[in-house]
């Protein structure tokens, strides 16, 4: 991790890793028990973000509760065209992950959208614009809860 984390910083960090208050003045609420002002809390949080310790502060949604759908997709692209295809795929906010893998197909990406129709549109558009043959949509039939990692 980049840079040491100081005492007060650690307290603020551990607080915001838990539940962020849904309140008019949440940073004051966080600061009160620590004896610091909202502005001081915020400057600590900003520092953590700037130093790359914290990636984001904000809400985490349950996409399934909102009716969102997602699928893994694969496209086979010759080596010299990978960069161009990858940047086309990356340009969609519906794409959350995109990587190059060994073997064929070699470009693997995940598409998430608010409906099957919207997801299909994104996939079709990528297929048309990339002009590298069919994009395989490989939705999960069953998902297993894993022990490793954090979800």
């Amino acid at each position: 991790m980049c840079g040491a984390i100081g005492g007060l910083e650690a307290l603020v960090l551990s607080r915001i890793l838990g539940d962020f208050p849904i309140a008019e003045d949440p940073y004051s609420e966080i600061g009160r028990p620590l004896g610091i002002s909202a502005a001081e809390v915020l400057s600590i949080v900003r520092g953590l973000v700037e130093r790359g310790v914290v990636r984001k502060v904000g809400p985490f949604f349950n996409p399934w509760k909102m009716g969102h759908v997602s699928t893994l997709c694969a496209l086979d692209v010759p080596g010299e065209a990978v960069k161009e295809a990858a940047s086309l795929i990356n340009s969609y906010p519906e794409v959350t992950r995109n990587c190059l893998r060994d073997g064929s197909p070699n470009l693997w990406f995940t598409v998430m959208a608010e409906s099957k129709t919207a997801m299909g549109k994104v996939i079709a558009e990528i297929e048309t614009k990339a002009m590298r043959g069919p994009v395989r949509a490989i939705p999960a039939i069953m998902m297993f809860r894993v022990k490793a990692g954090v979800k």
Binding site: M1, G52, P59, F61, R97, C99, L100, W108, I141
Partner: protein, 163 residues
């Protein structure tokens, strides 16, 4: 989903909101709503589980130093569920799914595996192969990661004119 909830969800996702002094006031300002409506709807989204939590997300500890691979297995349908469930217990498996096979790609179990070293990765894949044995498998090493980002919900990209 309620139309106003969708507008709220779009606003709350904006990265900088939670780095302002009063994030929910900032959301209200962007939406042209009262802060009371923002707070009330946010609380309700949290209660109903649409918002899992609001919090900070730590950046991955040593980005770039872990190796990943997607291991895919062609396991007979009748034992795919059992095999996938066993694989998901493996400490190095971060995702595990059953997916449909497709033309030229006869694999149905997908397990992503992470490790600190190439040896560790290879060992984990071998262990999974033992669970799936004698099924054919392949390890699709991550050569390059082009994108890994937080999902964006209710995107507007398809409504917008082509850029």
């Amino acid at each position: 989903m309620d139309k106003r909830d969708i507008e709220l969800i779009r606003a709350l996702q904006k990265g900088e909101i939670f780095l302002t002094e009063r994030p929910f006031h900032e959301a209200a300002r962007l939406l042209g709503w009262t802060v009371d409506e923002v707070l009330e709807r946010t609380r309700r989204l949290k209660e109903t589980g649409v918002i899992r939590r609001i919090s900070a997300l730590l950046a991955p500890g040593s980005a770039g130093s872990t190796r990943g691979t997607l291991a895919v297995f062609d396991v007979s349908d009748y034992r795919a569920e059992e095999t996938g469930s066993l694989m998901s217990e493996h400490p190095r498996v971060t995702h595990c799914y059953i997916r449909q096979r497709f033309e030229g790609f006869p694999f149905n179990i997908y397990a992503t595996v992470c490790a600190e070293t190439d040896e560790g990765l290879a060992r984990s894949v071998e262990e999974l192969a033992c669970v799936a044995a004698p099924s054919p498998y392949r390890a699709l090493r991550t050569v390059l990661e082009f994108k890994r980002s937080s999902p964006v919900y209710y995107t507007l990209s398809l409504d917008a004119p082509a850029s």
